[in-house]
């Protein structure tokens, strides 16, 4: 039996092509006299089918796209955007924009802004003006159709599409991936559904969707044909959250990290407003930083930066950049400057970016 076990292991190395000649002879000798081992060897050799498959490779265009996307996270240089979109689309876009500008000049009025603005993973990819029919963005099986005035930002890390303005129609087929559409006041979580969302309203056309506040608490659950809007929802208030947040900040300032965490988590459990939830999450990130857990702090800062709006989001993004490695910090600083060109850390961010070049 021991001999059989050893032989079967040799069979694996034979499949790999790493078997020394002496072992190969021993293997063949054993296989000649042992039927169970012969069968086992035939079973492992089935994997030659996978060996024989041509290894996957990206087409030249997709390879270029993948490289440019990765590089694009390092800066938002126009040349990168050009490459990402592909020359044809840029030529088409440039042509259409040129025609629109000339037309506007001739007519003496400003060219209408007829393209949704799309940011993917921190990089402005833009979308050329519509040539014909609706323009659809896709990830996995989900389809997102932004209105012409829409401004959306896709974050692959947390499957979230942030809608700053305009309208999106989202379709997630049965068996497809789930998607989160976040506005500054609520988040739509959908699976196997089709819905239309604006920063104030959600209408489900098919399936169902859940509406959550930014802290993850469910506000409403909608079925096909149902609609929900912020107007119908009384603004969330939490009177005790303000004092508790101050208490958490005070504990953190005194180095009582665990106590500060408990209080901040308590605030989140009380159903805070969006601003309070942002503040509580920011304190949890600060606590991780003070505790020396850098990866967790970065993850939490980025969560705040990409889920919430306002000062907390701005502070969080810059804080994450300060903790990241120089190369990754460059990406975050570029994102900071794009989102907050006149922000309180803009000058420092520009200085750091310049210094790193």
């Amino acid at each position: 039996m021991m001999r059989c076990e050893r032989t079967r292991n040799l069979g694996l190395h034979a499949l790999a092509g790493t078997l020394p000649e002496a072992d190969r002879i021993a293997l063949e000798a054993h296989l000649g006299e042992c039927e169970p081992c012969r069968d086992a060897q035939a079973r492992i050799r089935l994997f030659e089918v996978i060996q024989a498959e041509e290894p996957r490779a990206l087409s030249a265009q997709k390879r270029s796209t993948a490289i440019e996307r990765a590089l694009g996270e390092a800066s938002l240089a126009p040349a990168i955007r050009t490459a990402w979109l592909g020359r044809r689309m840029v030529v088409l876009a440039a042509g259409l924009v040129g025609v629109a500008l000339v037309g506007a000049l001739l007519l003496g009025r400003r060219a209408p802004d007829a393209s949704p603005r799309v940011i993917a993973d921190g990089r402005d990819v833009g979308v050329a003006p519509r040539a014909r029919g609706p323009r659809v963005l896709a990830f996995g099986s989900a389809r997102v159709e932004p209105s012409a005035d829409a401004e959306v930002e896709w974050s692959a890390g947390d499957d979230t599409l942030t809608l700053a303005r305009g309208e999106v129609r989202v379709s997630v087929p049965d068996g497809g991936s789930s998607i989160r559409v976040a506005t500054d006041r609520f988040v739509v979580v959908a699976l196997a559904s089709r819905f239309v969302a604006t920063p104030r309203r959600v209408a489900v056309e098919f399936g169902w969707a859940r509406i959550e506040d930014p802290s993850g608490r469910e506000i409403a659950r909608l079925r096909a044909g149902e609609e929900w809007s912020l107007e119908a929802e009384p603004p969330r208030t939490c009177e005790s959250c303000g004092p508790l947040l101050r208490e958490a900040a005070s504990k953190l300032a005194r180095g009582r990290v665990e106590e500060a965490r408990d209080v901040a988590r308590g605030v989140l459990a009380l159903g805070p407003s969006a601003a309070q939830a942002a503040e509580a999450n920011l304190l949890l990130a600060d606590a991780s930083r003070l505790a020396g857990d850098r990866p967790d702090a970065i993850r939490r800062y980025l969560h705040v930066a990409r889920t919430f709006r306002g000062a907390a989001a701005e502070n969080a993004l810059y804080a994450a950049a300060q903790l990241e490695t120089p190369a990754a910090a460059g990406l975050l600083l570029a994102e900071y400057l794009r989102k907050h060109p006149d922000g309180r850390f803009a000058a420092a961010a520009r200085e750091r970016l310049e210094g790193s070049r």
Partner: protein, 209 residues
Amino acid sequence: MTSRPAPTLSISPGERRLAARCRRGDRAALGEFFRQYSPAVERMVGRLLGRSPVYEDLVQTTFVEAIRSFPNFRGEASLATWVSRIAVHVVHRHFREKTRRPVALEVIEPGAEPRARGASPPVEVERRLLARRLFGVLEKLTAKKRIAFVLHAIEGYSVDEVAALMGAGRAATRSRLWFARREIDAHVAADPVLAQAALEMGDIERDES
């Protein structure tokens, strides 16, 4: 077996210069690095992953991780080995997370539909179905065993190379391969289609000999 590039463990002076520029965040150098090593990354991710819609996503994730990791590159291995190790790590993390990773955002041109492929010959179809079934067997293994098996048995890396790529010891790698082989054998034997295919393969060999 389709040949893979031979692993080089030492770093050349040219690679060292390129790495130094990449470490400083030099975009031109990073572009050069990716263009040079992208095929190796694509191959590695593709082999480990099999047919998966997240293939492109994981290739790109490997690039992004490489950008982030350059400050930690100490030149102890060649750039090809280093970036392959990152690819292995990215795929390993993907297996372990057991969650769907979103495919990167893309713009679909209006009217653009997936092109219908021409009908494949029956033998080719059978081969593909068999390959898919075999990948199904691999999916039943734990992430570490699956990766070790694919790197060794499919890609032909030696045990030491697999250990280096996975950041594991030699003994642990041998153990993973041993268990992977046993589990795979049991799964294949229990699958009527694969068991029949193995029998036919055995018959062909007997006839040939």
